[in-house]
């Protein structure tokens, strides 16, 4: 479980996150929706420690992550699938996957074999460099690379961006699988369909603040929120 408590983050001089509070539970997918430039990536990067919050706190299963470096946060069990995928382009697929692989000592832990079973394409291309992959394959690799650290919390920043519908479906399928395994998935999306189908709880971000929260059914019913803040 990861909790964001009244977080304020600046990007340069712009005051992007103006007091965000939210919570993502284990074995659930929590989605954050919002238009372009609302600060979704800023929040994810703050949670990962890549940006530091001016104020507020983020806690992982009750322990504060305040002042921690990204590598320390990662070692505590947070993994990131970044916007734009950012696979290591000069590493092979297999090197991308094994670079930071960490077991968690449990029987069902993620291994290279499991990732290849889930994404057979990656197995076929395991000697290829990250830069040789298609967008969809890069997204699979970014997800595979993150789960290979056997995290407790997975932060996903617009994993459907720029992908063909079949691959978006695959992403949704993977999120459901990870939930079943007890992972806490925090999904940032602009793809309304993917979010509504996979999330158990949703937040809507606008103007640097959470303007709405609720269940998928509630969001489906809240026409005004969808029109005003999501344009759907």
């Amino acid at each position: 479980m990861i909790t964001v408590d009244d977080v304020h983050t600046y990007r340069g001089l712009s005051y992007v996150l103006q007091g965000i509070s939210l919570q993502a539970e284990d074995a659930q997918c929590t989605a954050l929706l919002g238009r372009n430039g609302m600060g979704k990536t800023t929040l994810i990067e703050t949670m990962m420690g890549l940006l530091s919050a001016r104020d507020g706190d983020i806690t992982l299963d009750g322990t504060s992550l305040r002042g921690k470096e990204p590598f320390q946060i990662a070692k505590r069990g947070v993994a990131l699938v970044p916007q734009g995928r950012h696979v290591f382009s000069s590493l092979t697929v297999e090197e991308n996957l094994t670079l930071a692989a960490r077991g968690n000592g449990e029987p069902g832990a993620w291994t290279l074999e499991r990732v290849y079973d889930l994404f057979p394409n990656l197995n076929r291309r395991r000697k290829n460099r990250g830069s040789d992959l298609s967008g969809g394959e890069q997204q699979m690799l970014a997800i595979g690379r993150a789960v290979m650290t056997n995290p407790r919390v997975l932060l996903m920043d617009e994993p459907s961006e720029g992908l063909a519908p079949v691959i978006v479906d695959k992403v949704g399928e993977v999120i459901r699988l990870l939930k079943q395994e007890g992972l806490c998935v925090f999904l940032v999306e602009q793809n309304y369909g993917l979010a509504i189908e996979t999330a158990d709880r949703l937040y809507v971000l606008a103007g640097g603040q959470v303007v709405w929260q609720g269940s998928p059914a509630e969001l489906e019913a809240a026409d005004d929120v969808r029109h005003l803040h999501l344009g759907v």
Binding site: L50, F71, A74, P82, F88, S89, S90, L91, T98, R102
Partner: protein, 287 residues
Amino acid sequence: MNQFIVQTLNGLTLAGIMFLVSSGFTLVFGVMRITNLAHGAIYLLGGYIAYSTIQLVGNFFVGVIVAGLAMALLGIVLERTLIKRMRGQVMAELLATLGLVYVMNDLALAVWGGDPLSLRLPGVLRESTTLPGGIIYPNGRMFILFLAVVIGLALYFLLRRTRVGAIVRAGVDNKAMVSAMGINVRLVFTMVFALGALLAGVGGALGGTVLSLAPNADAEILTFALIVVIVGGLGSFEGAVLGSLIVGLLSNYGQAYFPALAYFALFAPLVLVLLVRPQGLLGRTAA
């Protein structure tokens, strides 16, 4: 013809020394984006330390190893105290490493004086061998070339075949993402800086057998290294190999056949590459 072969071998030896120096320089730049102007001074200090160690213990190889380790240690200290403070401020890094050049050179001048020194190779390496075709060539130079190749292969193995190497390459691609994977990038920086300094130190020890160790030798080797990495591609290991070969051979042919145009031979490839392929022969365009 024999003369040409001898000059080619000389050029290759020079290329080997240039490779040792420029591979460290390019590695540090590739991973840390730091242009370490003190790289030449580290080379020279490494050479001097090898010289004194050899005088003290009477063993060439101990001298090379001590020089390498001492410079690696110096690299760790410099990175942890000085470089770390200026991360990301290009001007500050340049000025700080330039300042180091003056400090290190003055210290070296005080300890080793201003007369050119050169390292003496042990026993059989001081002799020459007659190669097929009747060419007589010094064993020492062959040996330096051989060592440079071995070190180059070891580096290649480290960078391409080990997890540490994968981390270093990933760091060149995207440092923030490496740290988000749970890897302490600062530690990687320190290790890379130390490795760069180690290579420069070993380069100085081996270079000291062929080139002389004297004030200003650091500026000369730094110039070579800069040309090599610009020709080969800044930050590229393969580029350092290719650049060293081109610059080493051309500059040696230049000195041997057209001494008046030696500098032309050195800078011509640089200008050509900058005109035709500014990112260097094997360099990547900035993302």
